[in-house]
Amino acid sequence: MLERILIAGTGGQGIVLVGKLLATIAVRSVRHVTFFPAYGAEVRGGTSSCEVVLSSEEISSPVSEVFDSMVLMNQDSASRFLPKADQKGLVLLNASMCRRPAGLAPVMVPASEQAVKLGDIRVANFIMLGALLASKPLVPSHRVEDGLRQFFSERSSDVVDMNIRAFRHGLGLVSHGSSRRQTA
């Protein structure tokens, strides 16, 4: 088993948080797990990305040259990372902020717009996480919800609920089992 996941966007979109959550959950069921954040000097607005590797064998590098799954949340990261997409790999794009690229058939998820409707644009990342797990069940979704409650334990309960609602919304956007290629 080898799954190399890239999550990328801009500072402030909660990119690193999603990666950490995924890695923290995966540690319980996968032998070797690495998480690696890469962000620029900018606190907001710059590029922010992270990689998660899940493997049954020793991981020689937390940074991969090719990815099995990509979650891209803004146009800058889409143009930067799409060339590194593996043909057979899964690509999810935040349709609210990314153009549909020619030659690839990504899953287009209007995460930012849906997040605004749910009440806070910042939960777009959890909508994308739901869409990723609906397309590829890397970890059990009930574990994600427990993880969200734990990560946001000091925050108010309605913040936690909104995050979970966003995650479930993402799960629903990409109907499970349908071919990964159709638009969400």
């Binding site: 801009t10 979109q13 907001r44 607005g45 803004n74 146009q75 609210s96 902020m97 930012s112 605004v116 644009i121």
Partner: protein
């Protein structure tokens, strides 16, 4: 004198300080998002700008320019 307010929407980061400082509610934040995902304000067509420059002066990103138009 008529005043023309222009906002560089790609330069704006949606901080909202201009909207807050305008005493004639000429500016309001909209749902529109620029390329970076920031929501930028729009100049209202009804309220009239009095050319006080406060929005342009407080903008941390120099995204607002103001001109006056007069009959010659």
């Amino acid at each position: 004198m008529k005043f023309i307010l222009t906002i560089d929407k790609e330069r704006c980061k949606g901080c909202g300080l201009c909207v807050k400082v305008c005493e004639h509610s000429v500016l309001k934040l909209t749902e529109l998002m620029n390329r970076k995902g920031y929501r930028y304000p729009q100049v209202s067509t009804t309220a009239s700008c009095r050319g006080c420059r406060q929005c342009a002066e407080i903008c941390p990103d120099a995204a607002i320019e103001l001109e006056g138009e007069e009959e010659k």
